[in-house]
Symmetry: C2
Subunit: 758 residues, 2 copies
Amino acid sequence: MDYLKKHPWKIIEEGFHPQYQRVSESLFSLGNGMMGHRANFEEDYSGDTLKGSYIAGIYYPDKTKVGWWKNGYPEYFAKVLNAPNWINIRCKVGELYLDLAKCEVEDFCRVLDMQHGILQRSFTAIFSDGKKLKVDTTRFCSIADSEVGAIRYAITPLNFSDDVVITLGVDANVFNQDANYNEQFWNEIYRDAKPGTALVTAETKKTLFHVCTAMTFEIVSGDKLFAGNPKSGGQELYAYNEIVLPLKKDVETIIYKYAVIQTSLNHPKEKLHNSSEEKLSQIKELGFDELIEKHRQLWLKKWESCDIVIDGDIGAQQGIRFNIFQLSQTYSGEDERLNIGPKGFTGEKYGGSTYWDTEAYCIPFYLGTAIPKIAKSLLIYRYRHLEKAIENAKKLGFRNGAALFPMVTMNGEECHNEWEITFEEIHRNGAIAFAIFDYVRYTEDKDYLVTHGLEVLIAISRFWCQRTSFSANKQMYVILGVTGPNEYENNVNNNWYTNYIAQWTLKYTIETIAFVKETDNTKYEQLVKKLKFDESAETKLWANVQKKMYLPSDKERKIFLQQDSFLDKELIKAETLKPEDRPLNQKWSWDRILRSCFIKQADVLQGLFFFEDNFSIEDIKRNFDFYEPMTVHESSLSPCVHSILAAKLGYRDRAYELYLRTSRLDLDNYNNDTEDGCHITSMAGTWMSVVKGFGGMRIKNNMLHFNTSIPTQWESYSFRVEFRGRVVELKVSKSKVEIIRIHGDNIQIMLNGEATTI
Amino acid sequence: MDYLKKHPWKIIEEGFHPQYQRVSESLFSLGNGMMGHRANFEEDYSGDTLKGSYIAGIYYPDKTKVGWWKNGYPEYFAKVLNAPNWINIRCKVGELYLDLAKCEVEDFCRVLDMQHGILQRSFTAIFSDGKKLKVDTTRFCSIADSEVGAIRYAITPLNFSDDVVITLGVDANVFNQDANYNEQFWNEIYRDAKPGTALVTAETKKTLFHVCTAMTFEIVSGDKLFAGNPKSGGQELYAYNEIVLPLKKDVETIIYKYAVIQTSLNHPKEKLHNSSEEKLSQIKELGFDELIEKHRQLWLKKWESCDIVIDGDIGAQQGIRFNIFQLSQTYSGEDERLNIGPKGFTGEKYGGSTYWDTEAYCIPFYLGTAIPKIAKSLLIYRYRHLEKAIENAKKLGFRNGAALFPMVTMNGEECHNEWEITFEEIHRNGAIAFAIFDYVRYTEDKDYLVTHGLEVLIAISRFWCQRTSFSANKQMYVILGVTGPNEYENNVNNNWYTNYIAQWTLKYTIETIAFVKETDNTKYEQLVKKLKFDESAETKLWANVQKKMYLPSDKERKIFLQQDSFLDKELIKAETLKPEDRPLNQKWSWDRILRSCFIKQADVLQGLFFFEDNFSIEDIKRNFDFYEPMTVHESSLSPCVHSILAAKLGYRDRAYELYLRTSRLDLDNYNNDTEDGCHITSMAGTWMSVVKGFGGMRIKNNMLHFNTSIPTQWESYSFRVEFRGRVVELKVSKSKVEIIRIHGDNIQIMLNGEATTI
């Protein structure tokens, strides 16, 4: 957006832009993997705003809202709740409340320091009675201790001396804007406010999670600790302290607000408020400066392994760091119960649920930028949902331990109700199998196959086998009635991507069975027993289905067909669409979209990206040349895959153009929806566009490969990747390509076709 | 249902069956084309009940409820409202209210006299204090004056003498059970209660229809008029009179309640209550006996032209008369603004809206049983919606006056939001064109083409032409992404039925243009101007599309294919389905239904039924033999079409079996949903099963044909049809077939292949 300044490490809003407040609230969001919030103001704000605080894993099963019920729809959807708010600092000067919607605002500046994970804001407010108050704020959610947040809120009267009343609260009286029936989801369990602290323990209805939100504070005025005489109080779901500050002209008073957020996910309910109070006094003891310093240091360390440096293109530099920053804020990999919601902690849209985005886009990012444990946690998350996935498949008529993982989920249960997606977008099962393969390929952690992987693979293969049917007509196995990654076609037959990944899963499962049997036969036998697995009969059937899987193609054009009937469509280039028709999903009725050739996101190309080693470069080129012109990229997950393939095919300009669409999607509010939150999961795709696209990183023959190219718009770029205990840095400039080992043992890699040991 | 007695002219419930009260309320419903109600009790009833009174054309646009919004969905749906209730007669004996859920009930008998359109009920209630009260009721909605209803409510104390308090009210404080957001839809406009009358004028929110419901009464005790001292009163939306009756043991007291229901559809709003009061005194003057006698006579007259007599099968006899009775109650054809809701006046399900059922099923019934004006009114109804249908098509991206009539409608606007139906079940447009053809074929009223028909046909042909696309692959015109009559397949390509009826419409429109030009060139030129019709260019394109329309078929089996991919399915006979899997739509998830071969209702066979003259008997036989075994008939509209074709093909047993499924669908509560109301529109299909099925009635070469057969279970059957000013009666017994002319000029007809003049 034009109102934001470009800077390599910062997002900067100079001057107050209330018309973009919701956009800014999304962009400047903070998080630490456990909790996070939109960049709402601490003080009251009566202007347009979307208030949002979120705690990972704290959800509520909201009653499904549906026009026409279909058998198999879930009765309830889990959604992450808008959680108790700990940031509010109400400020009353004379009779007037500080409220930027009601003051004149001067010298407003809001900065998200991505290098250190800190949100800062400064401004001077001119009240209607002429009083000028200067405000400086600094806020963070600690990554050193994810239950901790703190604010430094400094106020200076510029033209008056007067009493100012400060109210510091914790507020669990919060609502979800996306509640289906406008319900409140929180009950108060315990509330305590005494001079110096305020605390509310709230319980989510139905799911009965407890969240204790506690705060304390410290006030320093003109270098001296101000004791004051705090008045405590509260009401249902809200507790506070109120302090009267006798402010003096030009003297800065700093309010330090410390918060602890603990939940029953990690603490026994009965100890929650004691434990929170205890931690509260510990952090107050440490003080703001030490807390923030630890946090800063850890951010610097994070960047060491995940940063991407781009020279000569500040917009691209800011964009890629924004993507990496948000991903790192959203998921820390420390809790196997958690996953990555499409909006992270930046908004409530999509209910904070898990999509196949995690497997297809996010896992490669965490594999490349963090120790294997982080990506492994994401695999374990699905492993833990296996039983529910089997139940889910059962509801849809499958038997014998077949698993269909949900399209959208929080706790393993399906959280979506459009039949064409919920029931038919079954390719997600393939991505979950592929992620296991991808993880093992990258980390060489083959033990994972023994302990978890094979069990999931067998359940998925059982599903694929039952989901195919034999076409007497084609004398092949077909998969009827699916929606592929391109959601602009529904209920199609033989979606190439789905059929291919189903076929691949069956093959990989059979190979994995052989590997596990050989590696640890005892464990294998245990598994056979647990799953009532009839190896010989089941694998025989799988092998047959795999061998005779129908894969639609056009012999003449030598391309794979997105689905059986694709060539009956009128084939038109997306560039011929009128601007007023875009985006199609906002302008066209659904039937019109469905019968058009226009593709929402990579579909056949997604398959060629996953399985590129199985195809010649000519195959990839022909399919890219055929499908790219018809792709409208109306999913945030689309351009990155096309960009990577374009880079591979040497389409440098197209690769760069597609990269730009993804890297600054939110910063430039490309889809006009940043106000709802940032597109967190697609950010991983942006990272891949650089690392797998321009950097050409691949694992082939158990070795790290790079095949580099560089956009003409860039001077140079460099990034680091984690790989099997090493950190490796690739530097690519127009004139040369360098690779160095930053950390770990030396290793042989392939750089632009040549083997090198570094 | 077993609790009902079989009788040729009556539906009889002997003994009270509270467990089936909702079913009985549906089955015993009354209506007169303008208004109607479920068979709710007059007195209070605290047991399970669905209260429902309805007035044709009085609707409210309820806010759409949807899980996931799709572009093009309507924001509001019109639904017929539960209307003010005029039947209530509260009865208080001592301190106890008469309430069959709280009394012991003896000698209960409820009778729907279909021959005369009268609902009767008698019972003895034993109160908890031992008092016995005998009650006899008679109720009707007059077909002599459709704004009038009356009740004779006779009470006799059997073992006591005491004061009984009777409250006679009109109650507009009524709710729709299917309200999407639990709203009340009525506002009070005017209320008046004085000794002797009570009246409420209520207004529907948003649509602002006014409905005045007025009542008066007369009480006769032991043959003497009882004046009493009525106390009048009321509250928001409710007005009443209360009378204390000093009942004497064994003396019958009769309460006559007279009601007038007038609406702003037919009266100026400002005159509504005066006009209602005026009519009220007129009908009271006439008295109950005269009112009911007029009504009975008109019913007898109705039956003269529409009765079907079946000897030797009392269940079939009762069934067919129940179907004819309900259809006749629902629609009188006197108001071109009205149509036939799927539940008529028997329930609120499906919002009382118009479906393609009207054109495909109901019009043939009204053509065959009433003067042409009645069926014509139904055609005019669509003609009046043409502009809205053009708007509707525009919303979906069509241009140049193309019309898509809504799938479900009240006022011409779409009232449904499932994309696969709302946007894709476009074959409805074909049925609307076909109905014009069918009407003209039957009545020879070719002038209708000049005055209305062609305008509709051009708009529909414009739609078909734009909705087809040219497949480079097939070198033919295709129709992609539709749902055919078989709603168990969605978003399919080239549904044979849809493609065929589209092709037929184009051809018929071109022929009709030629006819209208020749008949009335002035009118034609006016139309050309009005529609900006470029005859030469448009018809040239239509002719080309028509000529090159793709019609999927299987060369090997020599059958038409329901859709392009039908043969990729596993072809399984419905009889192999396990009982626990039926009905599929309650047991299987939607994707499973979609990829199965099972057919909900006649699809290819529907086309062969409409256009049988274009196919050889062998064609019909091969398709019937292929599709019938896969058809699960989970639509009430399905068995009748199969029955007709089976009769034609000489499959006598199958024809009878399918006939039974349709004729006693509600009486036997076959789908376990009669409690929601009766399947009014499919009742017309039942009539067709006899008249077009066993009777083999057709119009061919501008002549009435019969090709008769008779089920082995029947001794004989006979029916009358209206045809071009004549009433003709066909009598078929096992040994002979007779045809006689009851009314009108003599006429040549074809009976079993022989021309006869009668």
